[in-house]
């Protein structure tokens, strides 16, 4: 009997996955971008199989937004304090990493690639989740707890679009998925681990320049809808605050516009197109600042907020 065609990366035979990575490449279809990954770093295959388990197996020929290649260090760096190096379409955006941190290097490299290349969209530095057709945009400075909150929402009934990129379609300001594993740092790894003990998490990488890093794998439902856009409804500027259980404060739309524009990867580059797209997005959204220490309360209240938000203003 012929075996069923393998639909997802998680179902591949590990040897076949290693062979694909070492050969024509493994395709990561993230929704708004398709990235081809090639690598001779053997441990990477198993890690990717966990983090991208739900992603479809796709042919490695065709057009991609980028091809990233990770290889082991050359010469002495293959053996002595071994390193891994990342190339993006032949160029090296970062210095090599220690060989035991392939996933952080890959994920940051892909982030860098998206942030510098995907200029057919307005790219906000934000997490994005969606429920009932309404998207919550979570722009935040690093360290504000954005990824923790995004992960918590994504494991409580919200569809995950991204924890790093708010990809805004210029024509109508809808958000597009840039679906990738959620990068968690330091304490947030255990927080999310307790919050969603059944969620698939990749290995921990201590001693990165951001501390200890681990990644939460996107769920299959979010992956299957990675080509579905979402209408913006709510913009939340989150900040974890140990002194505040939960506080949601309205933000003037004009001020939210300014904060989003400053927190964008390419607002200035796109000129009038980004101005139009961002003003339209803000016009469709209710905007708030959130201070919280209770993840349970934050997720519950944001669920209610989205349920009663009317995206048509």
């Amino acid at each position: 009997m012929k075996p069923e065609p393998r639909a997802r990366i998680g179902e591949l035979d590990p040897a076949e996955l290693r062979g694909a990575l070492a050969g024509r490449g493994l395709v990561l279809d993230c929704g708004a971008a398709r990235i081809r990954v090639r690598s001779d770093v053997a441990p990477l295959a198993g890690m990717l199989q966990t983090l991208y388990a739900a992603y479809p197996v796709q042919g490695a020929d065709g057009v991609f937004d980028a091809t990233v290649r990770m290889h082991r260090g050359r010469g002495v760096r293959r053996v002595f304090r071994p390193q891994v190096e990342l190339l993006v379409d032949g160029e090296r955006p970062f210095e090599p990493f220690p060989a035991d941190t392939p996933v952080p290097l890959l994920e940051w490299g892909i982030n860098y690639t998206i942030a510098t290349r995907l200029n057919n969209f307005l790219l906000l530095h934000a997490g994005v989740v969606e429920r009932d057709g309404r998207a919550i945009v979570l722009p935040a400075l690093p360290g504000s707890g954005k990824s923790t909150l995004t992960a918590a929402l994504a494991t409580r009934g919200f569809r995950l679009l991204s924890d790093e990129f708010g990809v805004v379609r210029l024509a109508d300001s809808h958000l597009l998925p840039m679906l990738r594993p959620v990068a968690l740092k330091n304490e947030s790894i255990d927080i999310v681990g307790r919050w969603a003990p059944d969620a698939a998490m990749g290995p921990r990488f201590p001693k990165t320049r951001k501390g200890t890093v681990a990644h939460l794998a996107p769920d299959a439902a979010s992956v299957d809808r990675r080509n579905q856009s979402a209408r913006p409804a709510v913009v939340i500027f989150p900040r974890f605050d140990a002194g505040t259980e939960f506080e949601l404060t309205p933000v003037m739309r004009s001020r939210a516009f300014a904060r989003l524009a400053v927190n964008s990867f390419n607002y200035e580059l796109l000129g009038p197109d980004s101005f139009d797209a961002l003003t339209r997005l803000i016009g469709l959204s209710d905007c708030f600042e959130l201070r919280y220490r209770s993840l349970e309360r934050a997720v519950d209240e944001l669920g209610k907020l989205v349920a009663k938000s009317d995206p048509i203003h």
Binding site: M252, S254, A258, A261, E268, P272, T279
Partner: protein, 90 residues
């Protein structure tokens, strides 16, 4: 001859709550304007205006408590709009 102020051509203005955001097509810069600055800019976009006309506009818009600082306010708004190249002397 009285100095007149004109708005730069092609400005895109969007009202968001009580303030406005403006895009300058020549510099590709974006600006957030408070209510006073937005009112003056739209006033000047209609046609060139003198300082006295702008002062009359702002006198109508300001709260009574702010009236003593009207002159300084007018100068400040005009100067700030000039600095970011949204208006210029006609």
């Amino acid at each position: 001859m009285t100095v007149q102020f004109s708005a730069c051509a092609g400005l895109r203005i969007v009202h968001l709550d009580d303030e406005s955001v403006v895009f300058h097509p020549k510099t590709w810069s974006s600006h957030l304007l408070n209510a006073s600055a937005a009112a003056v800019l739209e006033f000047v976009i209609e046609r060139s205006r003198s300082r006295d006309e702008i002062e009359t506009l702002l006198a109508r818009l300001l709260d009574p408590a702010e009236q003593p600082s009207l002159l300084r306010h007018v100068d400040g708004v005009i100067e700030n709009l000039r600095l970011i190249d949204l208006i210029h002397e006609a």
